[in-house]
Subunit: 283 residues, 6 copies
Amino acid sequence: MQLSNAERAEVLIHALPYIQQYYNKIIVVKYGGNAMINDELRRDVMGDIVLLSLIGIKVVLVHGGGPEITDMLKKTGKKSEFVNGLRVTDAETVDIAQMVLAGKINKSLINLIQSTGGRAIGLCGLDGGMITARQLDPALGFVGEITEVNTEPITDLLEKGYIPVISTIGRDDEGNVYNINADTAAARIAGKLRAESLITMTDIAGILRDRDDPASLISKMNVSDAPQLMREGVISGGMIPKVECCIEAIRRGVGKVFIIDGRIPHAILIETLTDEGIGTMLV
Amino acid sequence: MQLSNAERAEVLIHALPYIQQYYNKIIVVKYGGNAMINDELRRDVMGDIVLLSLIGIKVVLVHGGGPEITDMLKKTGKKSEFVNGLRVTDAETVDIAQMVLAGKINKSLINLIQSTGGRAIGLCGLDGGMITARQLDPALGFVGEITEVNTEPITDLLEKGYIPVISTIGRDDEGNVYNINADTAAARIAGKLRAESLITMTDIAGILRDRDDPASLISKMNVSDAPQLMREGVISGGMIPKVECCIEAIRRGVGKVFIIDGRIPHAILIETLTDEGIGTMLV
Amino acid sequence: MQLSNAERAEVLIHALPYIQQYYNKIIVVKYGGNAMINDELRRDVMGDIVLLSLIGIKVVLVHGGGPEITDMLKKTGKKSEFVNGLRVTDAETVDIAQMVLAGKINKSLINLIQSTGGRAIGLCGLDGGMITARQLDPALGFVGEITEVNTEPITDLLEKGYIPVISTIGRDDEGNVYNINADTAAARIAGKLRAESLITMTDIAGILRDRDDPASLISKMNVSDAPQLMREGVISGGMIPKVECCIEAIRRGVGKVFIIDGRIPHAILIETLTDEGIGTMLV
Amino acid sequence: MQLSNAERAEVLIHALPYIQQYYNKIIVVKYGGNAMINDELRRDVMGDIVLLSLIGIKVVLVHGGGPEITDMLKKTGKKSEFVNGLRVTDAETVDIAQMVLAGKINKSLINLIQSTGGRAIGLCGLDGGMITARQLDPALGFVGEITEVNTEPITDLLEKGYIPVISTIGRDDEGNVYNINADTAAARIAGKLRAESLITMTDIAGILRDRDDPASLISKMNVSDAPQLMREGVISGGMIPKVECCIEAIRRGVGKVFIIDGRIPHAILIETLTDEGIGTMLV
Amino acid sequence: MQLSNAERAEVLIHALPYIQQYYNKIIVVKYGGNAMINDELRRDVMGDIVLLSLIGIKVVLVHGGGPEITDMLKKTGKKSEFVNGLRVTDAETVDIAQMVLAGKINKSLINLIQSTGGRAIGLCGLDGGMITARQLDPALGFVGEITEVNTEPITDLLEKGYIPVISTIGRDDEGNVYNINADTAAARIAGKLRAESLITMTDIAGILRDRDDPASLISKMNVSDAPQLMREGVISGGMIPKVECCIEAIRRGVGKVFIIDGRIPHAILIETLTDEGIGTMLV
Amino acid sequence: MQLSNAERAEVLIHALPYIQQYYNKIIVVKYGGNAMINDELRRDVMGDIVLLSLIGIKVVLVHGGGPEITDMLKKTGKKSEFVNGLRVTDAETVDIAQMVLAGKINKSLINLIQSTGGRAIGLCGLDGGMITARQLDPALGFVGEITEVNTEPITDLLEKGYIPVISTIGRDDEGNVYNINADTAAARIAGKLRAESLITMTDIAGILRDRDDPASLISKMNVSDAPQLMREGVISGGMIPKVECCIEAIRRGVGKVFIIDGRIPHAILIETLTDEGIGTMLV
C-alpha cells in the first residue's frame, strides 16, 4: 500500500470518533487459536493492543492455549485418558497446563508487548486470588468452573498503567488448581469489570448463514436469535459454547460482544477504530 | 481516497511509535494566518488537536489574529496611525484587539473543539496573571513585550484534562493591557512549559533555499545556520522574526521546533504522527 | 472615617460569625448595571470579591453587559431590528455580543481582580461546554434559553483556587452561539452548584412597597408572596423577570437569594459580613 | 463605637492586603501573662486566633502558665525550695506543672476556641514525641532545655484543619518529664516550622527607650542592636530572656518576630491585619 | 519461661489468623482500675497496645481515673458533698477532675506509649469538639451525659498513624465542662466508630456464676441473658452499669464486647491474638 | 510445646522491638534449595512471609528452581550439553526454564501464600520490563547477566499491598529470554530497592569455620574478611558465589545481608523477630 502522508493523516483523523467512543473504557480481548500460533499475526495482535492502550483504552488480554498444552503433554510422554471424548485432567495434566499457560504463553505475550513498547504484567487466576473455582465434573478431574471472580488485581494493574495478560487457571479454598475454559473466563471477567466490549478472536470469519459463503456473514445478531440459529445448525459445533459465553457476557453487563476473525491482520483495530465491523456483533 | 479497513488499520498501527514518542508530553501549537481564516482548514486543525489530545498528548494552542483585528478596526471606523510602517496601538486599538482575540477568535476555536468532541477552555494573558508585559516602545503605544510568563493557569487546565487555547494579551502591574506578538508568546510559553515541541503554522511551505522552488525546502536546519541564511536572504522578510522566535524557544528549552505549512490539510498530524516531516525543523 | 486600629480590629472580629457561616460555601454574584459601568464601584466590587475569596468563600461571578453591547453595535454601524420592542439578535449581533461579553467586559473584570491580588479565570458558556442552549424564539434570532448547565469547568477552577468569571453565552450541539440572559444564567448556575446564596446586584434599592420611599424596603420576602406583590404592582417592569429568576434559583436549591443595591459601595460585604441586610432577601 | 455597616465594610476591605500577605503562612503566637488571666482578654485573644485561622492563616498557639502553677502548688500545700532565687522543680512539682498546663490551661483555651467556632486540639510536648528535652541544671531538678523539636504532630493537625494549642512540657528518652520555658519553646517551634512570624504577647507595651514614656516605644529593632540596648539597660530584667528567645527564633529562620502588649484588646489582629504595628518588631 | 527461638517463632506464627481477623479494624480499649494504678501492669498494657497498633490494628484508648481524682481532691483539701451516696461535682471538682484526667493520667499514658516506641496523641472531649454533653442531674452538678460524639478528631489521628488516648471530659454549647463516666463514653465512641470490638478492662475475672469460684466464669454471654442474670444477682453492684454499657455498645453497632481481667499481664494480647478468651464476651 | 496463653502473649510482646525495627521497610528473601522442595518447610516459609507482610514489613520473594528445571528437562527427554561442567542453555532449555520457574514454582508459591491468607502476585523479569539482561557467555547460550533492573513493577505491587514473588528470567531489547542466577538477581533487586535486609536461604547452617562443627558458626562477618576466608577455604565451593552476591548487595546499598539455614522451621521469623540470629550476618 503506497499512501502519502496526507492520506495517512486522513485515516488517523477518521479514527477520532471511534477513539472517543472507547476513551477510558475497558475492552476485554479473548485471544486464542491460530491468531496466537502464527508468529506474524501474534505480533500484529500485540501491536494492536499496545496502540489501543496508548490511546487511552484499558485493554485486558485473556488468552487460551489448548494446542501448546497438548504439545507439552506429548513431549513429556504423558498419556491422556478420555471420557466421552473429553480429556481427563489429572493432577499431572493440570500442572502442565498451568506451566504452559502461565509460564510459557503468558510470558511470551508479555515479552512481545514489552518489545512493542507497551507495559504488561501477567496474571493467572491464582495471583491475588483472582479466580476461585470448583470441580466441574469428577470424571474430568481438575477441570474447573468459576465460582467467583475478584477483579481487584486487574483494576490495580490497570490503574498503574499496565496491560493485564491473563491465564485462566483457578483455585479453590483448599488450594487445588483447575484448568478453566478461556472463553468462559473472559466472559466472566468482562462481566465483572462492566467492560465496554468483549472481543473474542476465533479462526473463522464470524457466524455465517452458509458455512461455505463468506458473504453470508451475520454481522449483527440479537441474543434472542441464538436459540433459533442453533436449532437451524447455523451455530453449531465449537461455536455453540463460544456463543453461549458471549451471551453470558452480555447478560452480566458487557456492552457489546464481538466474534471476529483472528486470521485477518489488525482485526481488533478494524473492529474498534473503523466504521466497518468484521465478524459478528452480539447485542 | 478509497481504502479498505485493513489498510486503515495498517496506517493506524504505523502511527504507534510516533504516539509513543509524544505520549504525555506537551506540544505547543502556534496557529495563525490563512490556516485560521479558511473554515475547512480551521476545522481540520481543531480535529488534529482533539485527536492528539485524545491519544495522550498535552496540546496547548496559541493563536494570533491580525487580519480580524484589522477588520474590526475598519468596521468601527477607527483610523490607525503608523510609525515606521508599524501601526500605533492606542488605548482604543488595544481594546479592540483584546475583544477580537479573546472574545471572538478564541471562543470560536473553543466552539469548534467542543463540537469535535474535545474539551477546551480559553485563556488570555490576563487570566490567572499568565502574561506580564511592559511597553515595547512608547511610539507604538500598547504593544507589549513579555517580562514574565506564569504557566500555572495552563498546567492547571492540562491537569484537569482541558486543551488551553491562548490569546496573547498581557498586562503590567498597573493593569495596563498590551497586545503581544503571538509567535513570541508561543515561544516563551513553550519554553517555560519545557514543551517537547513547538509547531508554528504559517502560510508558506517552510524555509525554501529558492523561494520559487518547493523542492528546495530545507527540512532540517541547525540554529547556528540561521545567521548565514539570513545574510544570504534565504530567511527574509516576515520569516525573520518567526525564525528568531523559534531560536528563542530552543534556547529556552523546547526540544524541537517546526515551521510547517498550515495550508496543507492535517499538517499537524503529518508532522507528529508520520515518518515524514513537512516544513522545516529547527534543532 | 477616622478609626483607630483598635476600632478596626473590633470591626474585624465582629465579622467572625458571618465568615464562619459562609466558610467553604459557594456564593454566586450576578453583576451588572451601573455597578459595573462606574469605575470606582467596579473596583470596589472586585475588592469585595477578592476579600470573600481569600477568607475561604468560593465566589462565582456572573456578569451581564447590555449597555456595552449596544455601544459596540452603534460603533460598528450595525442597525438593529425590533420585534415587539425586543431587539432581534442576528448572526452579526450575537457575534458582537460574544466579543464584548467574553472579550471585553469579562477580561476587564479579570484584570481588576488580578490587580487587587485575586486569581481569576474567565469562562463563557462555550468553554468546556458549560452552557448548552436552544433558540428561544425564531423571531428573535440567536437569543437562547438554557437547556443544560455543566458546572464542571466552574468547580474545576474553584478547586484550583481561581475565581470563575462567567459570560453568559451558550451553544447548541451544532455549534450555534446564543446570547443568554445573565440573570437566568446566574440562577441556573447557582442552582446546579447548590450555592449557599445568590446575590443579584441591581441599580435600585431592592423591592420597595412605595417606589418613592426608600424606607418602604421589603427586606425579607417569601417566595409565595411574589404573585400578590406582582398583582399589586410592587414588583413591576424589569424587576419582574429578575424576581422570577430569583424564585427559580430557590426552587433549584439555592439557600438564600438577595437583590441588593449595587450602587452602595461594598454592598456585597455589607450583605454577607455584617448583621444588617441591604436590599431584599428572598426565601 | 457607632459604625454604619458601610464603614464596617470599609474596614474589612482595608484588611485585604494584610490577609494576602499572611495567606497560608504559619504564625506562632506565644501567649501568657495577664492577657491569659483576664477572662475578657482571653476571650478576645481566642477570637482573634479563630478569625486568623478562618481567613486562611495557620495559627499555632503556645501558652505559658506560671501563676496558675504557683496557685496549685499553694493549694496542695507543696512548699518550694529555691536555689539562687529559682524554684527547684522536684518530681511532685513537675507533676503539678504538667497537670495545670496540659490539663487545665490548655483545655480551657481549647474550650474557648471551640465555643468561638474554631477547631482546636491540645498537645503537650509528650504527645507524638514533640519535645525532647534534657535537664538544664541538676540543682533545678526537672527544669528542661530542648534538645529536639519534632513538628510532625503540629503539621499533622494543621493539615487536618485544627489549631494546635501547645503546653511546653518535654520528655527525655527515659520518659522523665521536664517543665520547659514557654518563650524558648515557642521560638524553637516557630524556627522548626519556618513560621512567617512569631508573636510574643507580654504585659508591657513593647521595648521602651524610657520605661516611663510609652511614646518612646522602639517599634522596629534590628537584632544586631540588642547587645547595645542591653548594655544601656533599655532591655533589662525579664525582658532579656524574652528578647534572646526572639533573636534565637530569627536565627532559626522565622521571618519576623513581634513583642506586643497583650493587654490591648485584639492586639494580634491589630498587629497582623492593620497598617500600624503595636509593640516592637525584631528583624 | 525458657523458650528457644524456634518455639518463639512457633508462637508468632500461631498468632497469624488472629492478626488477619483484626487487620485494619478498630479496637476500643476502656482502661481503668488497678490495671492502671499498678506501674508494671500499666507498662504491660501500653506495650500490648503498641504491638496491636504496629501489626495494623487501629487502637483507641479510653481511660478513667476515679482514684487519682479522689487523691487530688484530698491533697487540695477540697471537701466533697454527697447526695444519695454520689459525690456532688461542683465547679472546683470538675476543674480538678479535668486536670487530673487530661493533664496527668492521659499524658502519663502518652509518655509510656512513646517510650515503648508507639506514637500517641491525647484528646479530651473538649478537643475538636469531640464530646458534647449536658447535665445528668442538677443535684450532682457537673456530671454529664453524652448528647453527641464527634469522632472526627479520633479518625483524623488514626489516619495520621497516632494512637488516640481519650479522657472523658465533655462540654455543652455554653462551654460548661462535665465529667463523664468512662465506661459510657467508651461504649458511645466504639459505637460511633463501628469498632470491631470494645475491650473493657476491670479488676475482676469477668462475670462469674459463683463469685467465689473462678471456674464458674461465663465466657460467652448473650445480651438477651443479661436481665435474667441481673435478677439472679450474678451481675450485681458495680458490674451492672458496666454490663449496661457493653449492651449499649453492641446495640450501637460494635461487633464484640469483652469484659476482661486487667490484672492478668497482657490480657489484651491474650484476648485478641490467642485462641482462648479470658473474661466474658458479650454478643 | 505446651504453652499457656499468658506465655504466648509474653512471646508476642518480646517481638515488639524487632517489629518496630523493620516497620515499613523492605526485606528481600531469596528462596531456594531444600527449603523450597520440602512441602512442610515451604508452607512454613510462606506462613512466615505472610506474617511479616501483615505486621507492616514489605516482603519481596525471589525464588530459584534448579532441581525442578532439571526434572522437567529429563521428563521431556531433553539432553543437555555441558561446557566446562556448566550446562549449555539452548533455546529449548531456556523455554523450559521459563515455564518451570514462572509457570510452576512461582504460581505454586502464590497459591500457598493466598491459602495462608496473604495477597501475592507473581512476576518474572519480563513483566513490566523488570529485568534487562545480556548473554553472559556465547558458549553457555541463553544464560544471562543483568544489565538493568527496573523496580517499578515491584514497588507498584507493594504499594497496592501485594507480596511480589519473582522468577529470575530476563530479556534483552530484541526480546531474547535469558535464565538468570537467582542469587545474583536477588542481590541486584535488593540493592535497587535499597532494602533494609536481604535474607538468603540455603541448605547449610551458615558459614562454619569447621565444616563439621555446627558450633563453629561465624554469626557475624565483615565484608572485608571475605577474601581471607576464601583463601583459607572456610568459604568454598557453591558458597563462594553466594557470598559474592551478598557482598554485591551490601555494596549496592542493602543494610544487612543474612545467609540462613532454610531447613530450620520458621528460620525467617527467628532471624527477624527474635534476639538471636541464626546463620551468618554480613555487614
